[in-house]
Subunit: 118 residues, 2 copies
DNA sequence: CCCTTAGGTTGACAGATCTCGAAGCAGGCG
DNA sequence: CGCCTGCTTCGAGATCTGTCAACCTAAGGG
């Protein structure tokens, strides 16, 4: 697996449900990167805390104390989520705020959708 | 991250959309394991090939030649998907057939669902 | 029986990942 | 200006992961 950052990352890379048609190799690399980012308990919780936060935004200062991990580690996980295109960050004065990339989440959700009208 | 196989793996471990309420730590470990399994381009393609296969089943003999990888490697990836509860296997005579665990996929899809009734 | 074919298991190795402590950068306060 | 706090980046160590070659098991055919 190469270290390169994927340049695709459009919210709607591939939306045909996985159970409907096979995912092409190029799209698979991009989509798998997002799933991999969610493939860590800490990041999944971070993602959910951010996405479900009041106002749709969460401050790092609120996220960090929720885990038994050091600041740098949380920062690292947030960076992974950022590079996967799942969240966006925004510095506001002293604190940094994170918000979820809804369209991206929706695309992933649609991909895993099975037989909506079975 | 421990090596232990999680014992939970019920299809409906946690279904409240990630954007609605934060995922509890215990559920996060289980769910993240599934996302991690999908976090590899090869496995994501395998998953889609199996889920979209005619009759809902795919033979390993059809999956392996679709990649530029050796048999053992494909076997390893299928094992990961199996242990993540995403697919089930079934030997039928000479060949082994795989089919998707639809409920599990549905649960993951629901988790990533954003603004169901926005 | 022996052999061939389909898959899975084992062992090994390069590369990636998670975690931390130390150091760096940005913004606010005295 | 000088310092403190919040967050990120850097460097390092232990662990995990993807891949292959070699080997093993199961099923079917002479």
């Amino acid at each position: 697996m190469s270290k390169q950052t994927l340049t695709v990352l459009e919210p709607d890379v591939c939306c045909a449900p996985l159970a409907t048609s096979a995912v092409p190799a190029e799209a698979a690399a991009d989509l798998a990167a997002s799933f991999k980012a969610l493939g860590d308990p800490v990041r999944l919780q971070l993602m959910s805390m951010i996405a479900s936060a009041d106002g749709g935004e969460a401050c790092v200062c609120d996220l960090t104390p929720a885990f038994d991990l050091t600041g740098p580690t949380i920062s690292h996980h947030l960076k992974v989520l950022r590079e996967a295109g799942l969240v966006e960050s925004d510095r506001r004065g002293t604190w940094v705020w994170y918000r979820a990339n809804r369209p991206r989440l929706a695309a992933l959700s649609a991909l895993l959708d099975v037989a909506p009208a079975a």
